[in-house]
């Protein structure tokens, strides 16, 4: 449980091409009242373009990113690569969770080798898992 019940996450990016998953997570987040603003992106490129355009505005920069790996146009790995380039210009702690259907240990190791990635979550992303991830983000 959060130390401060009023504490919430300002902005969360949900990057995943699966619209059913987007619907589920968005709905769950809304019911939890822990996140003020959720931004949905269907691939890494849409997210990175938005991030770049809003780098000057600290309010818009996400506190938490839920990132899928397998996506068209720009996948999760490419997103992370681009993100690391912007990292020095982001004046804020951003917690990134990779959320994937892949149980391939190579994917897990690769994700964990990137210091910016807090954890690797295998779908399904249940409500209780989501709550503990958000609390972890709030405490960090």
């Amino acid at each position: 449980m959060p130390n401060d019940p009023m504490k919430t996450i300002d902005t969360l990016y949900l990057i995943d091409d699966d619209d059913t998953y987007q619907f589920i997570v968005q709905r769950t987040l809304n019911s939890l009242n822990l996140v003020n603003s959720i931004k949905l992106f269907s691939n890494g490129k849409a997210a990175i373009d938005f991030l770049e355009a809003t780098l000057h505005d600290i309010e818009q920069i996400p506190d938490v990113i839920l990132l899928d790996l397998t996506m068209p146009i720009m996948d999760g790995w490419q997103f992370l690569e681009q993100y690391l380039r912007f990292r020095p210009r982001i004046g804020k702690k951003v917690v990134i969770f990779v959320v994937s259907s892949s149980i391939d240990p190579r994917d897990m190791q690769r994700a964990k080798s990137i210091s910016e990635v807090t954890d690797y979550i295998i779908k399904p992303l249940t409500k209780s898992k989501l709550i503990s991830m958000l609390h972890e983000s709030l405490e960090s």
Binding site: D18, D19, T20, Y21, I24, T70, P72, S101, S102, T126
Partner: protein, 368 residues
């Protein structure tokens, strides 16, 4: 005098016995193993017939040459450094080596190298005794490759099934937790998409697994033109993609004796692949032709789509893929199934592609 003579005769007989035995052992060794002697620098001083036979070099070509002549470049320099370190110290070295024959082909030999030591314990020459294990080694490597492939297959299948399954699990628990019937209705409506995706992915999985089982599948006479028309109808090309131009030339070979299920599937997968990866910059044009070459029927299937960089992605082209969600007709099995089907009937498929220009698939149906 007499006894001295008989001593000599006895000694001679004794030595003769030893020589004969050594001679027999040498024959036995030469008949069973690949044998070579080298000096301490690794220059070949003796080879037996088996060595010449497997390396395809004549004795004249080998004698005086350094042993590196049959090095295949497969092993790391460390591997040979360790070999030399071991035998130079007078110790026996033993391991499997891949060598290269004169014609460039490779062979594997289980090798033991024994140093011959002088009175001070220093090696003055080496004998290498080898056994041909090419067949076993290739089987071993093939087994490793296959189990790796199987592992990848499992990971990808699990990924592609897990994605819709996860959504179904979450949606059903949301339905159970909800007490608002309107909300439940909306959630139930959301089940349709993942259920269908799961079903289609499952069907493709079953189809790709069946290929290996029906080796006795019936072959019938099929017209290329009919198959193409069937595929275009199945994909609803006329309605969904009216702008596509499909040119075909089946005059040289109009038909083929082949499993109907496979040829239909090959046309469908190639066609949907071309549609999926068409360039947004130009109208999709597909050119298909059949012809006879060296007794085999070939099919060429060319598009002017996005193309891929064969160097970077070529190896993935016919592999299984983790799938995207917003591409409903991409379940990651298409070209993998096509390749498996073609190979199951003894044929082959490969592709040439230029990024930004298009891709051409070449299919050789079966060698006569």
């Amino acid at each position: 005098m007499l006894s001295e003579n008989s001593d000599k005769i006895q000694l001679f007989k004794y030595l003769e016995g030893i020589f004969t035995e050594l001679e027999q052992q040498k024959i036995a060794l030469d008949k069973s193993a690949i044998v070579a002697f080298t000096d301490i620098k690794g220059n070949i001083t003796y080879v037996n017939d088996k060595f010449c036979e497997i390396s395809q070099y004549s004795r004249e070509e080998l004698l005086g040459q350094n042993h590196r002549i049959i090095n295949s470049g497969y092993h790391e320099p460390k591997f040979f450094r360790n070999l030399w370190k071991t035998i130079a110290r007078g110790n026996i070295w033993s391991d499997d080596i891949r060598n290269r024959a004169k014609d460039g082909s490779y062979y594997w030999v289980a090798t033991t190298i024994v140093p011959y030591l002088d009175a001070s314990g220093k090696p003055y020459q080496y004998v290498s005794i080898r056994f041909d294990i090419t067949k076993q080694k290739n089987q071993e490597l093939e087994l490793v490759r296959r189990s790796k492939q199987l592992e990848d297959f499992c990971f990808i299948v699990s990924h592609n099934l897990r994605a819709p399954l996860s959504n179904l699990l979450l949606l059903t628990s949301m339905i159970q937790e909800s007490d608002d019937s309107e909300e439940q209705k909306e959630l139930i409506g959301r089940l349709v998409k993942p259920v269908h995706l799961l079903n289609e992915t499952f069907n493709e999985l079953v189809e790709s697994l069946q290929i290996r089982q029906d080796t006795d599948i019936e072959k019938v006479n099929l017209s290329f033109k009919d198959c193409l028309e069937n595929a275009m109808e199945a994909l609803n090309v006329a309605v969904l993609y009216p702008d596509i131009e499909v040119h075909h030339d089946f005059n040289e070979v109009p038909d083929l004796k082949y499993p109907k299920k496979y040829l239909d599937s090959i046309f469908q997968n190639l066609l949907s692949n071309a549609i999926k990866y068409q360039s947004p910059k130009r109208k999709l044009q597909i050119r298909i032709k059949s012809y006879l070459r060296e007794g085999s029927t070939w099919l060429e299937f060319a598009d002017n789509g996005l193309g891929i960089n064969m160097k970077v992605q070529g190896h993935k082209l016919f592999g299984l893929r983790k799938t995207f969600h917003d591409n409903p007709d991409a379940k990651g099995f298409g070209l993998f199934i096509t390749k498996s089907q073609i190979e199951a009937v003894g044929g082959m498929i490969y592709a040439e592609s230029t990024q930004g220009r298009g891709t051409t698939f070449f299919i050789k149906f079966n060698a006569k």
